[in-house]
């Protein structure tokens, strides 16, 4: 947003990282509290615990009763939310600037004083199972879970953030509370304030609210790196449905890998640039009418939709191409055309015109996805959590620096047949059951 002052970073004595960015366009402030804990930190038997803990952190604290915690910021016209993903758990409030202190109070309470009432934990178990089952109603999400699980055989990125159902059924209140106490410490968190605030005053307020919270032992991450994939993997989900879906997923570079930004260009050429804001980028469709896979699949009457997904992550995650097969299109032809375009890019790289277009798209998307204090605050905290806020501030330069040669190298490294997992959702007519389970 226009005329923003420089980002200020401070670290409190207890290790809490504080990022403050003044933006005076509207009388609003956005507060996000980020924790370096996500589904990659979950051991066997406890999959989904980070996400469940996130839910519990809306169930009341010592000084904010459960029935108040969801309304407390709405009195200021504010919005609030939270999410958990593979590397992070985060909470936000955006409200008028006069609610800043209240937003900080909520986040300090959440960090230190969660109640974890046993009855509330039980009640939330069924809410989360309902969330899981709701997503299973969507064949595309069902397929994504299966493809990710097939792509990772060692790294915990392979299990879904919401967790596996048997773990959700067995986990206890004590498991949840132990996870909360272990990771919700100031030295494992980043507090971001963006908006119509004064930087020194905001940092003082953060210090007053958070300064007394004791640091903890920052948990050591002992995560198995995913070994190189040695050959193509395939997964087929057969279930009652109407539409076939294809996913082709490749192990992809992490945010700090030199090949990450060239791969963003690869994705722009294949499916149109999305940008890199998990909170905002996917709300508007990418410019993709001239993208290679759109032309081959959608204009080629093989698919009704195609998209690409590449997000900055702490460890190497996935670049996934998702295709909705057009009614009546032969699945073999859909897959053949998809793979042909991926192989061609890996083999031949991209043209100078395509590079320029991808850069223009990414430049525009970076502007569009930073159009609110909420979106800016998300980006600062997200990057600080998976890599560094400095990486976020350098994105424009990094995209400008991407060369055709680097794109070709990155594509040849990532888009290899031996590095891919191919997944199909094959719809069965109503009344036929699939072969995917024992039940």
């Amino acid at each position: 947003m226009g005329d923003a002052l420089p980002l200020r970073t401070a670290v409190l004595d207890n290790g809490l990282t504080v990022l403050v960015q003044e933006v005076h366009a509207a009388p609003l402030a956005s507060v996000w509290c980020w924790y370096k804990v996500g589904s990659r930190d979950e051991a066997a038997g406890l999959t989904g615990i980070s996400h469940w803990v996130e839910h519990m952190n809306f169930k009341g604290t010592t000084h904010i009763p459960r029935e108040r915690i969801k309304g407390i910021i709405e009195e200021f016209g504010g919005s609030w939310n939270g999410y958990t993903w593979i590397d992070q758990t985060t909470y936000l409030e955006t409200a008028t600037r006069d609610a800043l202190d209240r937003m900080l109070f909520i986040e300090a309470e959440r960090m230190a004083n969660g109640l974890y009432d046993p009855d509330e934990c039980e009640s939330e178990r069924t809410v989360i199972i309902s969330e899981l089952q709701g997503s299973e109603n969507d064949p595309d999400q069902l397929l994504e879970i299966e493809v990710n699980a097939a792509a990772f055989k060692a790294h915990p990125y392979g299990h879904p953030t919401i967790g596996w159902l048997p773990d959700l059924r067995r986990m206890t209140r004590d498991d949840l509370y132990a996870h909360y106490r272990r990771y919700y410490v100031p030295n494992n968190a980043t507090l971001v304030v963006v908006g119509d605030v004064e930087t020194d005053d905001a940092i003082d307020r953060v210090r007053r609210r958070f300064g007394e919270i004791a640091p903890g032992e920052v948990p050591e991450r002992r995560i198995t790196a995913e070994p190189d994939q040695l050959g193509e993997r395939r997964v087929v989900v057969r279930k009652e449905g109407t539409t076939a879906y294809l996913k082709v997923a490749f192990h992809a570079p992490a945010a700090t890998d030199d090949d990450f930004f060239p791969m963003l260009v690869v994705d722009a050429v294949l499916t149109g640039a999305k940008g890199v804001n998990l909170w905002a980028s996917f709300r508007t469709p990418p410019p993709q009418r001239s993208a290679r896979l759109y032309r081959a699949l959608v204009e080629g009457r093989l698919a009704s939709a195609v998209s690409g997904g590449l997000m900055p992550t702490a460890d190497p995650y996935l670049y996934t191409v998702s295709v909705t097969a057009r009614e009546g299109a032969p699945r073999e032809a859909v897959e053949r055309a998809t793979v042909a375009e991926l192989d061609r890019l890996a083999r031949e790289g991209i043209s100078a015109g395509e590079l320029e277009k991808a850069r223009n798209q990414l430049r525009a998307r970076l502007v569009f996805e930073s159009d609110s204090v909420t979106n800016i605050a998300h980006q600062l905290g997200y990057f600080e959590t998976v890599a560094s806020a400095g990486l976020y501030l350098s994105i424009g330069d990094r995209i400008r620096a991407v060369s055709r040669e680097h794109v070709a190298r990155a594509a040849a490294r990532v888009l290899r047949p031996a590095n891919r997992t191919v997944g199909w959702f094959e719809p069965l007519p109503r009344g036929e059951s699939g072969d995917g389970g024992l039940a």
Partner: protein, 427 residues
């Protein structure tokens, strides 16, 4: 509480000689502009037997013009990071996008061109038809979509424009040809009904100038509004289930017909709905069904008044074994709301929320553009943002509770359930 300046948005609104309305609201917050072009050509105007015409046209309109091929349009937009969103709602056909402000002079003429001179290439027709058929088939496999579409079909029966599917049916979409699209466009696209909203880093005089250049020489007569009759009142309670055996969760829609946007009871009903199914994650419904009973990940109520009388629909997704319990809990909250009304404290909280959320709603270019377009479409005035806090604050407890009594009653509810389970008839 901060609610913005007394001057408010203060957009510039002008009428071009050909009847088109231009609304410009400069904002330098990001170096970008949001452009929205709206025409009175929504699905409510679909010809009889050709449901889905407006939607089909929305898939076709930017595939080529008299002077540009579809590929040329795609290259021009993609090269600037711009994607057009074209949608048909009940009453409007809307073409919109966000572009960098430096690209505004290039992008606006493209929007004008696709709106005024679409070639609707025959070669694209079957490609787009296949996409629409696939989308309809996806909807048929989505329990939440099935529950809502069947709910609206029951609430608005007999071909009522709010009961028909915007995408149409497999049959009707199969019958739509190029001639039908062209006839629809000829009948509904005219500068007399055109509204262009531009919000962003472009000064208002320049917006007026550029829009005048792009649309000023377009000629055409007035477009008749689509008459939306009130739907017949329900005979009693209805409950229908739509079995989808292989799904994990059941989706419930539970609703009533209510009012048009310009009805004097609008603000009272808006506040009542906020208490019932929005405030603090699902209002009273969320507190009962999600928080206290742990039955659902999502439960909320949506109030959607329109040019005609629109619905209030409560929605929830629950485990199939909990459908009856969830419907009973909705009944209980609806009965309690109709019988006892809201409390003074609840009303105060909801007022504070709705008034206090305005700066957030009006923070982004897209948010401002959507607000101004709805002000224009419903005739609310360009100072509506300044008046809205007063309109909300002035609603009394009696008015809210009278609205609840007037519209909510379990014995008149229309309930649909899609998901695993046995079919059940009217109860």
């Amino acid at each position: 509480m901060t609610t913005g300046t007394p001057r408010g948005l203060s957009p510039v609104r002008e009428r071009l000689p050909n009847g088109a309305t231009v609304i410009a609201r400069p904002s330098r917050e990001t170096p970008a502009a949001t452009i929205v072009v709206s025409l009175p050509a929504g699905a409510a105007a679909d010809p009889p037997g050709l449901d889905g015409t407006a939607h089909f046209l929305s898939r076709m309109i930017d595939r080529g013009t008299g002077s540009r091929s579809g590929d040329e349009i795609a290259d021009l937009l993609d090269g600037r990071g711009v994607s057009l969103t074209v949608s048909a709602t009940r009453h409007s056909f809307v073409v919109s996008c966000t572009c960098l402000s430096e690209d505004f002079p290039v992008i606006l003429p493209v929007l004008a061109d696709v709106t005024r001179n679409p070639s609707l290439p025959e070669g694209d027709l079957e490609t787009r038809r296949g996409e629409i058929v696939t989308a309809i088939r996806q909807d048929q496999d989505n329990p939440a979509m099935v529950a809502v579409e069947e709910e609206l079909a029951l609430l608005y029966p007999g071909g009522h424009p709010y009961g028909r599917r915007v995408k149409g049916s497999l049959d009707s979409v199969g019958r739509i040809d190029r001639q039908a699209l062209e006839a629809f466009r000829q009948a509904r696209f005219s500068p007399a009904g055109l509204v262009v909203v531009v919000v962003g880093d472009v000064e208002a005089p320049r917006v007026l100038d550029e829009v005048g250049r792009a649309f000023g020489d377009w000629t055409g007569g007035p477009v008749d509004p689509v008459a939306v009759a009130p739907p017949p009142p329900p005979d009693g309670r209805r409950l229908e289930t739509f079995p989808m055996a292989d799904k994990a969760q059941a989706d419930i829609a539970y609703g009533f017909n209510t009012i048009a946007r310009r009805d004097p009871a609008y603000y009272a009903l808006l506040l009542m709905n906020n208490v019932l199914g929005e405030y603090a994650l699902g209002g009273r419904l969320g507190d009962s069904i999600r928080e206290r009973q742990g039955m659902a990940y999502y439960v909320f109520s949506a109030f959607e008044p329109n040019l005609g009388e629109g619905p209030l629909v409560i929605r929830a997704g629950v485990n199939p074994s909990n459908v009856d319990r969830a419907v009973a809990s909705i009944d209980e909250e609806v009965r309690r709301m109709a019988g006892e009304g809201v409390t003074a404290a609840e009303l105060a909280s909801s007022k504070q929320y709705l008034v206090g959320s305005m700066p957030r709603m009006l923070e982004t270019h897209a948010g401002i553009a959507a607000f101004l377009l709805s002000c224009e479409q419903f005739g609310l005035g360009m100072d509506h943002d300044v008046r809205l806090p007063g309109l909300l604050s002035g609603v009394t407890l009696d008015e809210v509770n009278a609205a609840a009594r007037r519209f909510l009653a379990p014995e008149r509810a229309t309930v649909t359930v899609a998901g695993p389970g046995e079919p059940r008839g009217v109860s």
